[in-house]
């Protein structure tokens, strides 16, 4: 698998994602600077990391969505190259129009950093195939703007197409307002595009890839990507 991690000046999970990819593939991904206007040939996966891209003072991900490298990412995504956006990466992908909806300030207005339980909804993608439908996994979140919004019509379309990848849930898999950490509509924590080739999610699979860090539920996602894209 030939993978690249985008690096914005304010990215701060770029290294974490690179470590996770390398751990699964044995090969360090290419780090792509935000001003690049061309991406290397033959990429299988582009990862857009967490952080604060350009400071995120206007709106999370708004400026990054218009960066030179993102124009290329869009072009690659249209060709079917897999794109994974985590946290700020998810915000950027929605702002760039690669994924529907928007991410707003958390319902209780506070930054939230903790492990959350997610119910896996869609296992038909290269990202989520190792999990079983309805399985409960534990990933950390660390965000201020993770409150997923889509209007009723859009929400219906996303749900109808099976584009929901993960929902905030309890340890037993219950999905309710009590397990909705940030006010996201329908508890949505991650979605894919219509073709299932672009995944955006607020939780950080790269942060739980070994028991020493407190868990390894994120590891299968990277292992599966390597398997599917090699």
């Amino acid at each position: 698998m030939k993978a690249a991690v985008i690096v914005f000046p304010g990215s701060n999970c770029d290294r974490d994602l690179a470590v996770a990819l390398e751990k699964s593939s044995g090969k360090a991904p290419i780090m792509l600077w935000h001003r690049e206007t061309e991406v290397p040939q033959g990429l299988d996966l582009i990862a857009v990391p967490g952080g604060f891209s350009y400071g995120d003072y206007l709106r999370s991900g708004a400026m990054a969505a218009h960066s030179p490298v993102m124009r290329e990412v869009k072009r690659m995504a249209e060709k079917g190259v897999r794109v994974l956006g985590v946290c700020n990466g998810f915000q950027i992908l929605t702002e760039a129009g690669l994924l529907p909806g928007a991410l707003m300030r958390n319902r209780d207005l506070k930054f939230i950093c903790r492990d959350v339980h997610l119910k896996v909804e869609n296992t038909e993608t290269a990202f989520t195939r190792p999990y079983t439908k309805g399985q409960v996994v534990r990933f950390p979140v660390a965000h201020h703007d993770g409150n997923f919004f889509a209007d009723d019509e859009l929400l219906k379309r996303i749900e109808g197409n099976g584009q929901v990848a993960f929902r905030y849930a309890g340890a037993d898999g219950t999905v309710s307002d009590a397990t909705n950490i940030n006010g996201s509509r329908n508890n949505i924590a991650g979605i894919v595009n219509g073709k299932g080739t672009v995944l955006g999610m607020m939780p950080h699979p790269e942060r739980l890839i070994e028991p020493k860090l407190g868990g390894a539920d994120g590891k299968p996602m990277f292992d599966a990507l390597v398997e599917a894209l090699s």
Binding site: L58, R59, A62, T94, G101, R105, F149, D151, G183
Partner: protein
């Protein structure tokens, strides 16, 4: 000339910051505040001297960057 842009959340989009402000006003004893919506105010100094052209340019800026039209509305006023 100067462009003033107000960016607000669309009706129907939950505004947690606005709700928090409303709650805080209530607890400070300001009664009768039925709703609070908050947003952003952006001031732009433009080289353009033609008001119509300026408005058109700012309109594009709003659509492309200043507002996220999935959740936000914007209002532009051109002065000077």
């Amino acid at each position: 000339m100067k462009a003033k842009v107000h960016v607000t959340l669309k009706n129907g989009v939950l505004d947690p910051q606005g709700k928090a402000i409303q709650h805080a006003l209530g607890s400070l004893g300001f009664s009768g505040v039925d709703d609070v919506r908050q947003g952003k105010y952006i001031e732009l100094d433009l080289a353009e001297t033609d008001a119509a052209k300026a408005r058109e340019a700012v309109e594009r800026m709003c659509k492309e960057l200043l507002a996220n039209t999935v959740i936000e509305n914007y209002a532009i006023s051109i002065e000077g």
